[in-house]
Symmetry: C2
Subunit: 547 residues, 2 copies
């Protein structure tokens, strides 16, 4: 094996002769109407929620896996880099922008729902299938199955989110843990089926993950080793009864005790789904992108403004929620255990079901009239969360990306990339323990204070032993200097957190090369496999490549 890192092989600038020839070949192969080499889509493909420099000279729109294979063959022939995108809504991580200059292969037209099994709860989808589409597919059939939705946008690609190892809100929240039978086109153009799907007639292909022999699925998540053109995902049966719960703490000092109280409940699966805990800034950003408490950017929120916000809307310094799924008896048993565990640890521990939600909606206005306090806005915050826990995608989370902007477009016209919202996510994983939560959050606060940003933090108890902490830097890209200032904050935070042992579990396009292994030959092995499947280095050069 050569020790050299893989280099980008092409100069895909619009003037390149190889590119021009490739464009002609692509047009011949998949139709000129499916090759976009000018117009606003190109510019849009170079935009993210932070400053980027990558160029996208063209976009290809294959309609099926055969067309994908053709696109790759031509890219190899002319040595032009290709970067696949599904819906391109990877906001906070680089949106639809490639890591290095590349022609984008847009998989959005491949949006077929190929197979569906109501009884065993699985569905096979292409990368263009969006959350909304899958949800409507299930609803139209009167299915008793629930999908798991990520809280980003209903227009997110299910496959895209899954291969990036995104998460959601139900017991199937760890998306990549609930898929199998991937169909992949390798960069060199060969097609691959994983698990039992490599045998034509294998009955268990959509229901059994491991197959026989080495399991290859993991290679195709967070990687540039292949284009996933289909996957089977598992769907949960709708429980006979669903109840959500929420809780909060008013003192930051109680965070350790809260996390430690939740740990046994996740560990013994009393809480069967991810618990999401957000700090006050996170809640405020979600709830009040247009609130008066929000200071004009780039000013920081004052402690008083946060206090006012918490008091007025009844939120805590930390606020969590989760879902319980089962028969009424099963949910009641879990509820009892949660109540006992959180007694004296958390405030405002509440449980509510569909009936409670309906009542609350009806009562919001009279409640405000009687008490002078808002019920409708917390409810407005909570309703989409409640629905996410039932597998319903929502567009109600997107406005939070705008919270440091001066104006918010209408809901159906939101486009954070175009509207120059500033957002950089840094997601790190920590063990599920109060002491770790404390160390982690103290580092976050110090770094954010240094850089004068408000830290929006969510801690998701996704696994049973770990917390997926998503830290967001939000700003207004229209303000001079903010792009650079935010990225300095990100870099500083990444360094401080990794130095303390808290590593990212997902990377934005700006930091793909920064994490080098310090133990063993992981990076060299991945580079070796890359060379094996992509000898010309044409697929998403640099993506999750630590060299």
């Amino acid at each position: 094996m050569q020790p050299l890192p893989l280099q980008p092989t092409v100069d895909p600038s619009r003037s390149s002769g190889a590119l021009a020839a490739a464009l002609e070949a692509w047009a011949a192969a998949i139709g000129p109407e499916n090759v976009v080499s000018d117009g606003p889509d190109l510019a849009q493909s170079e935009m993210a929620t932070f400053a980027t420099h990558q160029r996208v000279p063209a976009i290809l729109r294959p309609q099926d896996v055969n067309a994908v294979e053709k696109c790759l063959a031509i890219a190899n022939h002319y040595r032009v880099a290709l970067h696949p995108r599904s819906s391109g809504r990877n906001w906070g991580y680089g949106s639809r922008v490639p890591v290095r200059d590349a022609v984008v292969i847009d998989l959005g037209r491949m949006n077929r729902i190929v197979e569906f099994d109501e009884e065993l709860g699985h569905v096979s989808v292409e990368p263009g299938v969006t959350q909304r589409q899958l949800h409507e597919f299930l609803r139209a059939r009167g299915s008793v199955l629930w999908m798991d939705a990520t809280g980003s946008s209903p227009e997110c690609s299910v496959v895209g989110n899954t291969v990036e190892r995104g998460f959601g809100h139900t017991p199937y929240g760890d998306h990549f843990a609930n898929v199998c039978a991937l169909e992949v086109v390798l960069p060199d153009g060969r097609r691959l089926a994983t698990g039992m799907a490599r045998f034509e007639n294998a009955r268990a292909a959509p229901v059994y993950r491991w197959g026989v022999g080495p399991s290859l699925d993991g290679l195709f998540s967070q990687s540039n080793l292949g284009i996933v053109t289909r996957m089977t995902l598992w769907l949960m049966p709708r429980p006979t009864y669903f109840q959500a719960f929420s809780f909060s703490i008013d003192q930051d000092a109680d965070l350790e005790a809260l996390v430690d109280a939740l740990r046994p409940l996740r560990l013994d699966r009393t809480i069967p789904s991810a618990v999401h805990i957000g700090n006050d800034v996170k809640i405020l950003s979600s709830l009040m992108s247009q609130s008066p408490q929000r200071p004009a950017p780039p000013s920081l929120l004052s402690a008083e403004a946060l206090d006012d916000f918490r008091r007025e809307f009844g939120f805590g310094v930390w606020n969590g929620y989760g879902g319980l799924y089962g028969t009424r008896a099963q949910v009641a048993a879990a509820r009892g255990a949660i109540r006992a565990a959180l007694r004296g640890v958390a405030d405002r521990v509440r449980f509510f079901d569909d009936r409670d939600m309906a009542w609350a909606a009806r009562l919001a206005r009279p409640y405000r009239w009687l008490t002078g306090r808002h019920l409708s806005q917390p409810l407005e915050f909570f309703k989409p969360v409640y629905e996410l826990m039932q597998g319903t995608p929502t567009d109600r989370m997107i406005p939070s990306v705008y919270w440091r902007k001066l104006t918010l477009p209408a809901t159906d016209r939101l486009n954070p990339d175009r509207d120059r919202c500033g957002l950089i996510w840094l997601p790190v994983v920590s063990p599920l323990g109060g002491a770790h939560a404390r160390v982690m959050i103290d580092i976050v606060r110090q770094v954010f204070a240094c850089h004068a940003f408000d830290p929006a933090v969510s801690m998701t108890l996704l696994g049973e032993r770990s917390i997926s902490n998503v830290i967001g830097i939000s700003y207004d890209r229209d303000m001079a200097g903010e792009d650079a200032r935010a990225m300095r904050c990100y870099e500083d935070l990444l360094q401080c957190l990794t130095r303390a042992g808290y590593y990212p579990y997902r990377l934005g396009i700006q930091s793909m090369g920064e994490l080098r292994s310090t133990v063993g030959c992981h990076d060299e092995l991945v580079a070796g496999i890359k060379r094996l499947v992509d000898p010309n280095g044409i697929l998403s050069p640099g993506r999750y490549q630590p060299v």
Copy 2:
């Protein structure tokens, strides 16, 4: 990539000059006392529970990962094939015998329990750690954690069983799904750490599976791509209350309805652990290796003998059991749902906890005196199963391997390889549905009837959507012609089941090369990765290599 399959590179016959030189080098590197090149251990390493032809010219016993690296470097230098084993108890699949002639690298001395976390429930072990050792380690510390044990032998290697994707009996029954942070030595001698363990100080290494970037763990299960020298495994917290349940059906025709009734209970996780269902032959083989009902080999059990057995001991044609874990309220809620689902579908649906087990043991003798029926033997069958569901390894399953032998040694002297027990497992995976169970079992019965063997079948509802069916061919290797007759039955069964779409999820050494992919380039990719990490082809040539 070359299309040629990887060939075994060496002739490890004892006379080979390269081997002699390698043996000298190994002796110098890890001490002559750790290089065994004659004596009974070699012969034992060439024995399985069916006929084998492979030769083992020497055994190496490295004491740590550095010694493993040295052994591999020397094997590469002299081009001598090496095959790792942990405890070598891979009975029914080839025991400790390599797929092709190879020097065995015995990892049994590497038996350290390296890290342990009571709070988060994880432990890191080397491949020599046995089930018994881990269980005693936990007990000695008064840990509240339960391991998951496979029902083979307490002396089984935890790592060995896990990388072969073995299973157990608790909610952590899918062993490979509950590990992370593998330490692997690649065949070319480089060391690798997977997941977050590739960063020296990553706090989440033992608690978060995916790491960042492509996930490599799957490559090192059921493969010859590396030697796993350490892994972190997750342990479940002991529930406040445990209750087992059992059920059976008296008519084979009710199998479909039974499986269909269980499906929703697994799918919605009301039953949180694997449900194991065994046919009458399976139960009889477990219970009565010395029973009078057992015909002298190689005769078949008559329908009458099976009827007598079922009547006398109160078993059904199909018999299942599973475990419920939680608070008393949680278990009661699950119990209610199970009772309702199995009403009218299964007979003898029973629930019992520690107190019931203690009572039953005390009542067994008076019960027999009063009713003339055995209680002690069903209890004897059930007690180890009950304990397995609590994560306690047992040696009470091993005698079942002897059930077609004329004599059974004392429990502490059981050695199925040496004692020439005949056993060939064929494990296939099917979707969790009654119709599939019917098709599968009909094929099994037809093939076994053709070949005049009694089919011992267990169906394990390991996943939530699939059944892991383990079909056993048992015979007496001391009877002339039986080895060949049994292997013909196996081959026929493999062919009939795969033709019907039911594929093996684990292979014995006799059939590693038989399953070629019919969709995509899976086999070529695996072969390519093999060449990448093992250019000389020295590690376990042929193991899970479909070419």
